[in-house]
């Protein structure tokens, strides 16, 4: 059969396992493609290159496209149309990923492999890789789109290099694709380093406080990498091989003490990237200060690479059941509870730090750290629903956080500030951005009907059925803190009084709005019909050897309390309908009044005096918990800084010895791989 775009698309759609109703959509796409294939240019060049692409190993094709993106951005990044090109290329990567069909199909190894000193580096895609790669490329796609138009113009006008941005983004994507596809310890480490340095690049782009934060990140990342290197050395010492099969066997044969060491090394290394307590202090500033679109990418997916590592090693290879047998001496806790409690603290502490922020970017970045805790917590519970909830939250969180950060940076784009005390009332000027932020905060806070509710519900439920009351309370306290903090976010930006200087603010530019609105729709859909995302998660669970969640299109079936979002959302919408009927149908006609026509105890309001409550929004709560923070946080940061100094002092020495050779090796290897 001759390959043509039509057949390719057909295959892709078949790989997606879409419900029947999408046939019509497919028809429209097919018609469009037929027109393309009939054009002259296509018959001359297109057909050939397509056939070449089709003939490739799907995983290679994915890597090749990703590398091509990087290359093209390096060459053409300065061009004005580079943004659009990048969007197309990320779209192509997404298609390439779908064509690997490793989610529902069998794992697929890449044909490329590199052999260094008798050790071969190779890559392979399976359901887990697919899941994370999908989030990565999806985030890259929306980020590139967000950055493609007006945002990039402003970025250039500020005298910054568009090429550097495009390259950093492409490099991040490429690194992550390599990392999630790694099939042995060496390729894992190569990918890990690539990701670490790439995100440093993205963070440090704009200099100033961003560069400072990025340097702080670097200090953490280097020590994290050292820990991982140590873990790899430990495993290699026992297994004598970097292959995953050998590693699994080696871990099984390890003594408890060895597993403990491994756990601390690996856990510590990945925890740095994930921002687990107490290694979380670098993350907020590094993510918040990055240039807008970069911040979106970093916030949505970058830290999840740490979680990926934890999933592969701690959940996949060591296994939750092994963790449960590892008792902490002199306590009644097992290592699994220890990790779960670290996750719970990671939920609570950063969330309540977010509550104190008055910069919207920082507020969201701190929440990003906190949400990582839910994912880990769900995975540590380890039952079918809990681990599915943890995995699903990666996806739900990524779309949520991307939408939220995009909305905030759209406000920054228009008003020039993210200071929550200097905004207000923008809902009348940027209503669509408000809508995006609203969907985002409902999802982030984990309220129905948005996506975040489903995954958090699953985590709660597993904590209840597994009988973990304190962790459950901790998780809910985190959620409540999130609700408080996101209300402050939306209130201080969009509600309240519109400032005089913002009277003429316009809605966000179209190039930024489209990805924002698309993500909002996705947030709602993933909450309304969680089935598709659950089916991915179920595949990942199956591959990791976890119990598989009993999913249906609307959620989870379980006689002892399931969840059917289609029903819930349906009834909620019906309720809103009734509410609207009561409000609009049975009430007198209303008239909109000016914001100064407002109750002030008989006082006459004027435009030159702000009548707005924004600073120290939760004053009452802060009277109580404020002192708790100040003491413990200063102490924590100081002691960590001291430890870090010590560690970095030691690490620096080691790093100087070990790292450059390895990096050079890796770079040379990567070069060779594409040449051969």
């Amino acid at each position: 059969m001759a390959t043509s775009p039509t057949t390719v698309v057909d295959q892709l759609l078949a790989g997606l396992h879409l419900p029947d109703g999408f046939d019509a959509v497919a028809g429209v796409i097919r018609e469009f493609l037929d027109q393309v294939t009939n054009s002259a240019i296509w018959t001359r060049y297109g057909q050939q290159s397509l056939e070449w692409l089709i003939g490739m190993n799907p995983v290679d094709r994915l890597f090749m496209l990703s590398a091509l993106t990087l290359l093209l951005m390096l060459l053409l990044g300065r061009l004005r149309s580079a943004g659009v090109l990048a969007v197309l290329l990320y779209g192509a990567q997404f298609a390439a990923l779908l064509s690997t069909d490793t989610l529902f199909g069998a794992p697929l190894a890449a044909a490329v492999r590199i052999t260094v000193a008798d050790q071969s580096l190779h890559w392979s895609y399976d359901a887990l890789s697919w899941f994370f790669a999908m989030i990565t490329i999806g985030t890259g796609f929306v980020t590139a789109w967000y950055a493609a138009g007006s945002w990039m113009r402003r970025y250039r006008e500020a005298g910054r290099s568009a090429r550097a941005f495009h390259v950093a983004l492409a490099l991040n994507c490429f690194g992550m694709l390599l990392l999630v596809g790694s099939a042995d310890l060496l390729s894992l480490f190569l990918g890990w380093e690539l990701v670490s340095w790439a995100s440093f690049l993205l963070m440090a782009l704009v200099g100033g406080p961003a560069a400072q934060a990025a340097l702080k990140y670097l200090a953490y990342a280097i020590s994290g990498a050292m820990l991982i290197l140590g873990a790899i050395a430990l495993i290699y010492g026992i297994s004598g091989s970097f292959e995953y099969d050998a590693v699994v066997a080696a871990i099984r044969s390890m003594t408890d003490a060895q597993v403990w060491t491994l756990l601390l090394l690996l856990g510590g290394g990945f925890a740095v990237k994930l921002g687990l307590l107490p290694f979380h202090l670098w993350q907020a500033a590094a993510y918040a200060e990055a240039p807008g679109a970069g911040s979106v990418f970093l916030g949505a997916i970058s830290a999840r690479m740490g979680l990926f590592g934890i999933i592969v090693f701690i959940v996949g290879m060591i296994g939750v059941s092994r963790l449960m047998t590892l008792e902490i001496p002199y306590t009644f806790m097992s290592s699994r509870e220890l990790i779960a409690w670290i996750a719970a603290l990671t939920i609570i502490v950063p969330t309540y730090t977010a509550l104190q922020q008055h910069d919207a970017r920082y507020l969201l970045a701190w929440h990003g750290i906190g949400q990582g805790g839910y994912m880990l917590l769900g995975l540590m519970v380890g039952d079918a629903v809990g681990s599915a909830g943890g995995l699903l939250h990666c996806f739900n969180y990524a779309i949520t956080q991307a939408a939220l950060l995009m909305a905030v940076f759209a406000v920054v784009h228009r008003t020039g500030t993210a200071d929550l005390n200097q905004l207000g009332g923008l809902v009348t000027r940027m209503p669509l951005t408000f809508l995006v932020l609203l969907f985002g905060i409902i999802s982030l806070a984990g309220l129905p009907p948005m996506a975040g509710f489903v995954s958090k519900w699953m985590v709660y439920r597993s904590l209840i059925t597994e009988g973990m009351p304190l962790l459950f309370v901790a998780a809910v306290v985190g959620t409540l803190g999130t609700i408080l903090s996101v209300y402050k976010l939306i209130h201080n930006i969009f509600l309240g009084q519109l400032r005089v200087e913002h009277q003429e603010v316009a809605e966000a530019p179209l190039s930024m709005l489209i990805p924002m609105l698309g993500l909002s729709a996705l947030i709602f859909l993933a909450g309304f019909i969680p089935g598709p995302a659950l089916s991915w998660v179920a595949q990942v669970q199956g591959q990791l050897g976890l119990p598989v969640v009993p999913w249906v299109l609307g959620g989870i079936v379980d006689p002892r309390g399931g969840l059917d979002m289609i029903w819930l959302v349906g009834i909620l919408m019906a309720g809103f309908g009734v509410g609207a009927l009561v409000f609009y149908g049975f009430g007198g006609r209303s008239r909109r009044v000016h914001q100064l026509d407002n109750y002030a105890g008989g006082h006459f309001l004027t435009a030159d005096v702000h009548y707005q409550y924004s600073d120290n929004f939760y004053a009452g709560l802060m009277h109580l918990i404020g002192p708790w923070y100040r003491g413990s946080f200063r102490w924590l940061e100081r002691s960590l800084a001291a430890t870090l100094d010590l560690v970095s002092f030691g690490a620096e020495g080691l790093y100087r010895l070990a790292q450059p050779t390895l990096l050079m090796l890796a770079a040379a290897v990567a070069m060779l791989a594409w040449v051969l």
Binding site: G425, R429, N598
Partner: protein, 259 residues
């Protein structure tokens, strides 16, 4: 700024025909029943904003609490003007206070009723000669019921409220419409007292227009004076102005000419 002398003197209060306009007369019996029901509900549920300006305020606690218990009649105190139906002025109103009283009155949602308690609200009472008090409350806003006395006892207050309830139930308590229909008159009196640049943050004229409460004397010399210096008070309408789309539209408006 206009000098106070340039404020035209308001004419003598002209009686204005107030009532159901011919076009809105209900002939449908169900609608009549419905109107009756609504009027009944309105008379049996009165939220009261007590603007305790003068001595009369001390008579309210007994009227509200266990001795006389207004809640029996469906009357309960409320806090902000938006929630209230009754504005209770309990005694003398100084000029400074009157400004706030007027703002509060304008912020209330119609139908709204004003009750002047104490002789001071009727004619200035013992403050007749004071330079700083407003004499007749109904020069500045329509008053539904006056409860005279210096000060009236709670029984009298309750009696007055009962009178108001009766008026509302029978549809006679529509003094609030007078404020819209003869706004010029009230505004004139206010301007005489507060100066020509007097303005509240509420937009009575626009409201009258919106609710079709315009009358023959809504506009006049005084509203013209108001318009000279009035700060704009249009509501901040929600607007979706996506620059790219706006540009495209304006381009197509110009028939494809480049900008």
């Amino acid at each position: 700024m206009t000098h106070i002398d340039q404020v035209p003197t308001p004419g003598a209060p002209r009686p204005v025909e107030i009532g159901v306009k011919p076009g809105t007369k209900r002939t449908n019996p169900f609608a009549r029943v419905f109107d009756e029901l609504v009027r009944f509900a309105q008379s049996r549920s009165l939220f009261m904003l007590h603007y305790c300006t003068g001595c009369g305020a001390v008579e309210l606690p007994p009227a509200m609490t266990s001795r006389f218990d207004m809640e029996r009649l469906g009357i309960q105190p409320m806090v902000s003007p938006r929630q209230a139906d009754i504005l209770l002025i309990t005694g003398y109103v100084s000029v400074k206070t009157l400004k706030r009283v007027i703002l509060t009155y304008e912020q209330m949602n119609s139908p709204k009723y004003v009750i002047g308690i104490c002789s001071c609200t009727v004619n200035g009472g013992m403050y007749w000669q004071s330079y700083a008090t407003a004499k007749k409350l109904n020069d500045y806003m329509p008053v539904d019921i006056y409860i005279a006395g210096c000060m009236p006892r709670p029984e009298a207050v309750i009696e007055g409220l009962r009178g108001l309830i009766e008026n509302i139930r029978t549809g006679r308590a529509d003094a609030w419409k007078d404020y819209y229909r003869r706004y010029d008159h009230y505004l004139g009196n206010q301007q005489r007292l507060f100066g020509a640049d007097w303005q509240t943050p509420t937009d009575v004229i626009a409201e009258a227009r919106h609710y079709d409460l315009f009358g023959p004397a809504t506009l006049g010399a005084h509203t013209a004076l108001l318009e000279q210096h009035q700060r704009p008070l249009e509501a901040l309408e929600m607007r979706i102005e996506i620059p790219e789309l706006m540009r495209r539209r304006s381009r197509s408006d110009q028939g494809g000419t480049a900008q």
